[in-house]
């Protein structure tokens, strides 16, 4: 089942989040999606256990954003259709979705187009769905591009070169600033 990502983002733009979803409500919205897909939703204990697990300090706010997206866009319908075909129960794999989006805060997902796209693509990936108009390879490639942790790692690798360039540039610009100040001449 393919998901129209651009369409969903346009729908999201038209339905701004007014206030954060309470955790209980967010769990209920996600559980409803699973029920509609004829799947057994996680128990209260399972939700709490997942949120307590190491490396998932932001899970509840991410869950709130997921609930908002499901409640206000056609993603829920697409998710239900896709999940119906899945054999493995979500309680087995849902935590893996939250692990992949672990560093994303709710604010990032709400306000940063790239982080929102990453969040949505990770969800589609978890669903096992496809992005409309893209091949599997293109989807993987885009997710790789959007992986901020990986990008920052690569960025940090060239730090030394960048530092040396910055020091040289600072000197150049300070000299230029001095030249301009000198050209202005007399100061009271």
């Amino acid at each position: 089942m393919s998901v129209d990502l651009n369409g969903i983002r346009a729908e999201l733009e038209r339905a701004p989040l007014v206030s954060p979803y309470p955790v209980e409500l967010a769990r209920a919205v996600v559980s409803d999606m699973l029920r509609l897909a004829r799947l057994v939703p996680p128990s209260r204990g399972a939700w709490e256990e997942w949120a307590r697990a190491r490396g998932r300090p932001l899970m509840n706010e991410q869950l709130g954003m997921l609930a908002h997206i499901l409640a206000s866009t056609s993603l829920r319908e697409a998710a239900v259709r896709t999940l119906r075909d899945r054999a493995i129960g979500p309680e087995k794999t849902l935590p893996s979705f939250f692990d992949k989006v672990a560093p994303l805060t709710a604010e990032m997902i709400r306000a940063n187009a790239f982080r929102q796209e990453e969040f949505l693509r990770r969800f589609v990936e978890w669903l096992g769905g496809e992005v409309q108009g893209e091949s599997r390879k293109q989807m993987e490639r885009r997710l790789e591009q959007l992986d901020y942790r990986k990008t920052l790692d690569e960025y940090a690798r060239a730090e030394k070169a960048r530092e040396a360039e910055a020091a040289r540039r600072a000197k150049l610009l300070q000299e230029a600033a001095q030249r301009e100040a000198d050209a202005r001449g007399w100061r009271e």
Partner: protein, 558 residues
């Protein structure tokens, strides 16, 4: 069926579609092909792809070039790009001026502004949501034309679009260039990726601009020599004096401060080596604004900004006037008279000649002179004020730093003119002094008094004698510092001063000097009823003292 490219109908359809990209109606004239518009707008460059004249609200597009780039189908995207400049980025040239000043503060001596590229990135993000492939075709066409020789700035710029539009590396940037860039600038690709994912997430435009500068500077080897040729990279007009004057008055100041604070907190400035130019006085800002402008028109631009700044300073001291009179015309046309052989041919008024003489106009042309706008008879009794302004090198150039003497002279002049008086300026240093006509208009007087010589100090006593003889009813004010005392010391000079005093309604020596020294040197004239000595201890006090002096010398008209 789509229209043939370049036909009026195709342009109309593309224009319609381009407006839909921004989902709003715009008050712009329909686009014009380049050939028809060139020569009548702000565009100075060679062979632009398209540009928008925000003064005339006219989009111009170079259709043959678009075809040559193999991007004939991209007309809608190009027009949408230009509309984007009008409706969103920058929308007003005031914002462009504010960012331009910030840019000059961050990158002193920058050879060519990056502001257009900055706005292009913002516009293309929006246009690319629906017209991505059309924009890609334009940039690809340009890369093909460049034959692979791309400068680092353009290469980085293209890599940004590849990342923004989720394209594979190589879509816009040739692989060989990418490889070279990675060697010269390790981490080039991750730079582009991090830029795109950070830049578009920032919510305030000033912050976006500081971040933009901090990243782009890496790809500018020598900022002072920067020049680039990037499609649509020079399609915005430059802000005008009004826009920059707004910035000098503080427009965008808070936003700039917030952006610089954010940049400091995030380490953008330190990591990039950008300098955070300190907050400076308005004249230094004006200097920055005008420093790297093309020679043509730079002086007039600077003078307009400096003049407005001094006007505000003058107003601080004398705005208390209850009802300043409306400005006078500097000159008025006279009635028509017959032009005769020997008269100046420039004085012929051909329109007037044709209207009054009909077909005989060329045989009997009429002349019209421009005369000073004389006040009504009841104002004739008002004294004229002659201001002798010392502009020697001991004081700064008023266009670059605040010159307290120039300001004092302007305050006196403005006070007199607002009270319906006449003013004449004598700006002196060493050598021949500058002498104005009698002036009745504030702006004219202000601009004249902004003249500066910057040499030695040599008070023009012969001129004082001549002018005193011509107009003994004038009030004369000498604005100088202790140098005037040296000038007045010789016997001949003191005689001329005495003559000037006797042939004036009043002569005031308004000096920044020690009163005791003044009293000693000027002792021969000090007791005369038509001579007054006014001193200020420091230059800071000049302006306030000038306002008080003006009040005392030039009474309110009843």
């Amino acid at each position: 069926m789509s229209e043939a490219p370049g036909t009026p109908e195709a342009i109309r359809v593309a224009w319609q579609a381009a407006q839909e990209v921004w989902d709003m109606r715009v008050t712009l004239s329909p686009p014009e092909p380049l050939g028809r518009a060139k020569g009548s707008s702000h565009w100075q460059g060679d062979e632009p792809l398209a540009y928008i004249d925000m003064e005339k609200r006219q989009v111009v597009v170079n259709l043959p070039l678009l075809e040559k780039l193999g991007a004939g189908d991209s007309l809608t995207a190009v027009l949408a790009h230009e509309i984007g400049h009008h409706v969103r980025f920058p929308h007003t040239l005031g914002l462009a001026a504010s960012l331009s000043v910030l840019e000059k503060r961050l990158i002193p001596g920058l050879g060519s502004s990056l502001l257009n590229l900055f706005f292009d990135l913002l516009v293309n993000e929006h246009v690319g949501r629906t017209r991505r492939d059309e924009l890609i075709a334009v940039y690809r066409g340009f890369v093909a034309q460049a034959g692979g020789g791309l400068d680092p700035l353009f290469a980085y710029y293209l890599a940004l679009y590849e990342e923004l539009w989720g394209q594979e590396p190589g879509t816009l940037l040739p692989a060989a260039v990418e490889e070279a860039m990675e060697t010269q600038h390790p981490g080039f690709r991750s730079d582009a990726r991090v830029f795109v994912q950070t830049f578009y997430a920032l919510t305030r435009i000033h912050s976006q601009f500081v971040y933009f500068c901090s990243q782009f500077i890496r790809y500018i080897p020598d900022p002072s020599k920067l020049a680039f040729r990037i499609p649509l990279g020079h399609d915005l007009p430059m802000p005008g004096p009004d826009d920059f004057d707004g910035v000098v008055r503080g427009y965008g100041e808070d936003e700039t401060d917030d952006a610089l604070r954010e940049a400091r907190e995030n380490g953008w400035l330190k990591e990039s080596g950008l300098v955070e130019g300190k907050e400076e006085d308005p004249l230094a800002t004006i200097d920055r604004i005008t420093q790297h402008m093309p020679g043509h028109g730079q002086a007039a631009f600077r003078q307009a900004l400096v003049s407005r700044h001094y006007k505000r300073l003058v107003d601080q001291y004398i705005l208390k006037l209850p009802a300043p009179p409306g400005p006078r015309e500097p000159v008025l046309p006279s009635v028509l008279e017959d032009w005769e052989w020997g008269d100046n041919p420039a004085s012929i008024d051909w329109t007037g000649s044709v209207v009054t003489q009909g077909p005989l106009a060329s045989l009997r042309p009429q002349r019209r002179d421009l005369l000073p706008d004389e006040p009504p008879p009841e104002e004739d009794s008002f004294p004229a004020v002659e201001i002798y302004l010392d502009t020697s090198g001991s004081m700064p150039n008023p266009a670059q730093s605040l010159n307290a003497m120039t300001l004092a002279a302007q305050i006196l002049a403005a006070s007199a003119i607002r009270k319906q008086g006449l003013v004449r300026g004598i700006v002196y240093s060493s050598g021949k002094p500058l002498l104005s006509d009698w002036m009745r208009e504030e702006e004219t007087a202000r601009l004249f008094l902004l003249n500066y010589a910057g040499g030695g100090t040599d008070y023009p006593f012969p001129l004082l004698k001549r002018l005193s003889a011509e107009r003994p009813d004038a009030i004369r004010v000498v604005i100088s510092d202790s140098d005037f005392l040296y000038n007045a010391s010789p016997a001949g000079a003191m005689d001329a001063l005495a003559y000037g005093i006797e042939h004036s309604r009043l002569l005031v020596a308004f000096l920044a000097a020690d009163r005791a020294s003044c009293a000693k040197v000027l002792a021969p004239v000090l007791g005369r009823p038509k001579f007054k000595l006014a001193t200020v201890k420091s230059l800071d006090g000049f302006a306030a003292a000038a306002a008080e002096l003006a009040d005392a010398l030039i009474p309110e008209r009843r």
